[in-house]
Symmetry: C2
Subunit: 222 residues, 2 copies
């Protein structure tokens, strides 16, 4: 029986790499994206391209209106996306986002009989979000084991965060080795209406620094 994994795919660089890693590990991959009212909804189109290009068996977009709660510059058009790095958790933080995403993935994984959920959380070159840290992932795993029929039956749906301690440059190198086409991906928090990246947000700056460190140009900018 083939191994199955639900892979959270945002359309960005990190999750594209993680999808390729899951496939490389022999998983049949079920790509899952969330339409949560993000201002960068273009990433949903990119997520579909990434899922197709990397051989996902299926790609689903689940709509959930957590963006309506407000409180984040990623979902509230009245809040500006910062163009400077911050020493605090920035206003682009979406409350409980990864928890909601992983919870939905957990439900789908259990229905599919999947052995793992892959998430592109990263705690090195990142925006400082609490739900990207290894201790958070471990706590989610412990909770998931108690939450599910699968867990009660003594099996584990593993939460895999394979790039959590990699630098952005190392993520890009790993993905390139696996054949990831980064031209499909978009990492910008605040893309322009024509789909071009802003070049100024945290995510754009971290991505640019990552490509600069690898010495390879970003194919999405060519």
């Amino acid at each position: 029986m083939s191994k199955k994994a639900v892979v959270l795919v945002s359309g960005g660089l990190d999750s594209a790499t993680v999808l390729a890693m899951a496939k490389d590990q022999g998983y049949t991959c079920y790509a899952l994206s969330m339409d949560y009212g993000q201002r960068h909804r273009i990433e949903l189109d990119r997520a579909r391209k990434v899922a197709l290009a990397n051989g996902a068996a299926e790609h689903r977009v689940v709509r959930i209106d957590i963006g309506n709660f407000g409180g984040s510059a990623l979902t509230d058009q009245d809040l500006a996306v910062p163009t400077q790095a911050s020493t605090e958790i920035p206003i682009t933080y979406v409350p409980a986002r990864n928890t909601v995403f992983l919870s939905v993935a957990l439900g789908w994984a259990e229905v599919l009989g999947a052995q793992a959920i892959f998430i592109g959380a990263n705690a090195v070159d990142y925006s400082g979000y609490p739900d990207c840290r290894p201790e958070y992932i471990a706590a989610f795993q412990a909770m998931a084991n108690l939450a599910t029929k699968t867990g009660v039956n003594g099996e584990t749906i593993r939460i895999e965060a394979p790039i959590i301690d990699l630098t952005k440059a190392d993520i890009i190198k790993a993905g390139t080795t696996l054949g990831v086409d980064y031209s499909h991906t978009i990492s910008c928090y605040n893309p322009r209406t024509d789909g071009k990246v802003c070049g100024e947000c945290d995510s754009c700056r971290i991505r640019a620094a990552g490509f600069a460190a690898t010495g390879v140009p970003d194919p999405a900018l060519i």
Copy 2:
């Protein structure tokens, strides 16, 4: 400053009681219901009635398509709702349901600056779902503390499950003392098209036994 709580309100007896308990504890209550493709969608109307009757400051219904994943008789019309008790976790189990609900509640609670989330989970007179047990609630709490900016800042959004170890009869007695009008509530997994309860599902049978034990007739059946 008044205390705030997000209260998960399903339209059923348990969560109506919990909403009254939260209000009695002095919280300004924000009622949250989920439209997840349940076959018993009439409960969303009842949830609104329950929220209004118990003085919630606001009632929100968040739509999330986890029902599309299938795998549960509560969301899949092709799976029959059992009319017999089971010693195993029944097919009415919706994978990761409480985890998804609590995650969405966590997001809203953080935006509101709420101190608590109330959930009507019960591990005594219940259907045996894993995500209704005290150890699950504790694990969710531990995860939530790591997931949020609130947690990083040293504060806790408490997950309150005040009826988790009460019998159904004791829940009804507590709610009645607080003035809960149970005629607004519906507990049936499989209501008929005219809104009448089936009287045969797990939830109907547990509710009937609870009212029988209190010696008070169920006002929803009068």
